[in-house]
């Protein structure tokens, strides 16, 4: 037993793990740290937020968020800090202002245009004054005959 312990201690020399993460703050502030961390991109793992990533870089960045929270910085000030160093790239959600506002508004705008076009077309087709002109002759034939017959009959009356 002691031998095994000694061997493991000897083997662990030089393989000591990198430092442990900072202790979490009190529940309320830590919740804020985690919420902000979810919205910041980890610089090495790229697709993952710093709150979700186990990478040392993410841990360092999350520690920085803790430090800024302790300093009493606002959410926007913390995001600004990371944008100043890693660019807008650091934000998991693009900002709702400037050029990136288009990313938020664009899809809604396209949906609105789509609904408008559909509405335009349906209301046009529904109007009785304009029957389908492009309909094939086969389907048009009986309607045409009926229509023409009625028109002729009306003209005869005059």
């Amino acid at each position: 037993m002691i031998q095994a312990l000694l061997i493991s201690i000897v083997l662990a020399q030089g393989y000591a793990p990198p430092r442990q993460g900072q202790d979490p703050l009190d529940a309320e502030r830590e919740a804020r740290v985690q919420r902000i961390g979810k919205l910041l991109r980890c610089a090495v793992c790229q697709g993952v937020s710093i709150a979700d990533s186990p990478a040392s870089m993410a841990r360092a960045q999350l520690d920085k968020v803790r430090e800024l929270v302790v300093e009493g910085k606002s959410d926007d000030e913390i995001f600004d800090y990371f944008v100043a160093r890693y660019g807008e790239w650091a934000l998991m959600e693009p900002r709702k202002s400037g050029v990136t506002l288009g990313l938020w508004v664009g899809p809604l705008l396209l949906l609105a245009i789509g609904i408008f076009l559909v509405w335009m077309n349906t209301s046009k087709n529904a109007a009785p004054a304009q029957p389908a002109v492009v309909a094939s002759p086969e389907t048009e034939k009986p309607a045409e005959d009926e229509y023409l017959a009625k028109v002729r009959a009306d003209l005869e009356k005059q």
Binding site: A16, R19, A43, S56, M57, E67, V83, A84, W89, V133
Partner: protein, 200 residues
Amino acid sequence: MTPAPPPRRKTLSTRGNASVSPPPNAPRVNVVGIVVALLVIGGLVFIMARAFGTDPHSVPFMLKGKPAPAFTVKRLDQPGEVSLAQFKGRPVVLNFWATWCGPCKYEQPILDLASQTYKDVAFVGIVFEDTEANTRRYLAETGTPYIHLYDPKSTIAVDFGVSGVPETYFINREGIIVKKVIAPFNSPEEFDKEIAEILQ
């Protein structure tokens, strides 16, 4: 089909002809539609042309041309503290490294040599995400000749916008970050080329 009735009214004649000749609105060009389509396609081509050829994984470096963030931390190789301000007026080469980082160890001899060559330049190593014991042991083994600092929470690294290790920052005499190199140096010549800019 029954033959078309005599064209007593204009509307009747067009209706009658519709089944024989193409619909009358077919050759009309939808100018607005084409312009909108061209704008949309043009916009997409512009975005793609800009994005092609750039590495989507590269982390933007925003501090180029900005003053280097100040720091004061504990020195590892000797007792005492070191702050960036004390190198004012001298070019500074700031290298972020860790003992768990293979490429950092690989470039260490090149930085050691460079620190002997460029006596006027302050060479500073900052430990990233590592324990003090690990780094002390490593430094004792290798005996690197320049200053090494211990940054317990890696705050300096995040302040500088580090995206991984090794990363080397070149700071000029005015304390402005001129550039950073995000790969290990493979040869002294490679390092000489990079440092030239901050020596003036």
